[in-house]
């Protein structure tokens, strides 16, 4: 692309921690600090902190904010109370997915939308097209850092560095998909019980310059709970075990929510929204292909590999890895609806060889309790 790579406010911290740095979505990001397998296991068994400052943060404020965000998205935004968040999708008129996002209602007339790093410019154009006068839109991405704390010990670690206005309150009481304001490591923060790992955890939004103090305090406060920094490599294996979508791999503008298995995020009865007629029609006729989970027998499937049956190409792999917790080679792939049933035997063409694979139950991993 020839564009200069950007750095998060934690770049020097990553370097000092010995991270391997790679280019990702226009940013120089840590892919791993020690080992992807070790970091993955750390999040499943204890706790990890992630620098996600490359992600985009959009604010919508004003009397028209709710209706505007609702008109841009497929899920039922009107259902959100102050302090609640939801997974959501933005689609184009054809029903193709512009981005998958989290929408947080932070106040009566205030919504925060977190978007994928690679999509910030595209999404900003999408959400401000025909913006009504009753909505103030702000792309706060350049001034907003994001640190995620994920794992079974996340609440203990976050509690140690968080102050709430009422002394008796505890951040541990924040429900899943809850969001509120708090002081974290002496910085004003928006803190949410959301994540992308399948574990309990928090995402902490702070001003750009405050990120180092939050990051370092979390690492120090969490030391006795086994906290470690986690790179994007383990973030990908963690999310794939849970069948969380990776935009640009599993979903994009050529895929629609129905075939991606995201019907649960589409509320056709909530009223008009961008893409609704097309998506309703797709739902009506049923999808011709579906995104399924595959367990691959001899080899690691990767994005772009072909799915075959009796030598003929029938689909394509969108994500694939070795799943460190499930101890299997797992993948997501689009296959014809007739081949989507669990237990269907197909093959993945890996380096010219057709390797057996079985459509399996997803998520591949679900935490107990």
């Amino acid at each position: 692309m020839g564009q200069e790579l950007r750095r998060t406010p934690l770049f020097d911290e990553h370097r000092a921690l010995g991270a391997k740095i790679v280019a990702f979505a226009g940013w120089e990001m840590p892919i791993q600090y020690t080992s992807i397998l070790e970091e993955h296991e750390r999040v499943r068994s204890a706790c990890g902190v992630f620098d996600l400052s490359h992600m985009g943060e959009f604010w919508f404020r004003g009397p028209g904010a709710r209706d505007w965000v609702s008109s841009l998205t497929t899920n039922d935004v009107a259902k959100l109370e102050v302090g609640q968040a939801q997974y959501n999708l933005m689609c184009v008129e054809s029903g193709g997915i512009v981005d998958d996002v989290i929408v947080y209602r932070t106040d009566n007339e205030e919504y925060l939308m977190v978007v994928n790093a690679a999509n910030v410019a595209k999404d900003a154009a999408h959400v401000s097209r025909a913006l009504p006068a009753s909505v103030r839109f702000e792309d706060a991405s350049p001034r907003t850092a994001l640190v995620a704390v994920q794992g079974p010990r996340a609440s203990v670690v976050v509690m140690a560095v968080t102050n709430l206005p009422v002394r008796e309150e505890s951040i541990e009481a924040l429900p899943a998909f809850g969001v509120r304001r708090a002081r974290v490591a002496d910085a004003e923060a928006v803190i949410a019980r959301t994540g992308y790992t399948g574990e309990d955890g928090f995402e902490i939004f702070v001003e750009w310059d405050r990120a180092p103090q939050v990051w370092n305090r979390l690492l120090v406060a969490g030391a006795s709970n086994g906290v470690r920094p986690i790179g994007l490599g383990a973030r990908d294996t963690l999310r794939l075990e849970c069948r969380y979508m990776l935009y640009g791999n599993d979903i994009d503008e050529t895929t629609n929510p129905i075939e991606a298995g995201l019907s649960w995020v589409v509320k056709l009865d909530k009223g008009e929204f961008r893409g609704r007629p097309a998506i309703a029609a797709m739902k009506e006729r049923g999808p011709s292909r579906k995104l399924v989970g595959l367990v691959v027998q001899g080899g690691v499937a990767r994005h772009g590999h072909e799915v075959t049956m009796e030598g003929a190409v029938v689909g394509n792999v969108t994500s694939g890895t070795f799943g460190p917790t499930v101890r299997k080679n797992i993948a997501l792939a689009y296959v014809p609806t007739g081949l989507a049933a669990i237990g269907t035997a197909v093959c993945v063409r890996i380096r010219g060889k057709d390797v057996p694979a079985t459509a399996g139950k997803t998520p591949f991993y679900k935490r107990s309790g």
């Binding site: 397998l37 490599g233 690691v300 070795f322």
Partner: protein, 133 residues
């Protein structure tokens, strides 16, 4: 770590010659660059490998990498332990993580490989060129 007594390829394989048979693996530098190895694909006994042609694949969590044979010849044995426990490539690249034993077809090919000193210089250059700092 670049042990003495081995020969090396620019593609980061090592070879240990013992009479007519050469043991082949990937170097410590290579496994470090790859990260956690989770899958190894190797030719079977009796198959032919050619010098500097792909002999198989080592996959880490993130990516697949070809392994190039530093020598030509017939596969005398493949390391079944490493197929079952790919992490041996990371844990013990020069010992338990070996990949193949090859019956040498042409000892003259060994002249095309690097000494430990030359290989050290080679990875010094590679590291520098990658701009680690």
């Amino acid at each position: 770590m670049v042990p003495e007594g081995l020969l090396y390829s620019k593609e980061h394989e090592w070879v240990k010659v013992d009479g007519e048979v050469a043991t082949v693996g990937i170097t410590d530098f290579a496994q470090e660059q790859l990260g956690d190895v989770v899958f190894v694909e190797l030719p079977s006994k009796g198959e032919q490998v050619r010098q500097f042609a792909s002999l198989g694949v080592v996959e880490s969590v993130k990516a697949a990498s070809d392994v190039y044979s530093p020598v030509s010849g017939e596969v005398a044995e493949r390391n079944v332990d490493v197929i079952e426990k790919p992490e041996l490539v990371n844990e013990s690249p020069y010992q338990k993580g070996w990949l193949l034993k090859v019956r040498l077809a042409d000892r003259g090919e060994l002249k095309g490989l690097l000494s430990p000193g030359d290989y050290r210089a080679h990875i010094g250059e590679t590291t520098g060129a990658a701009g680690a700092d």
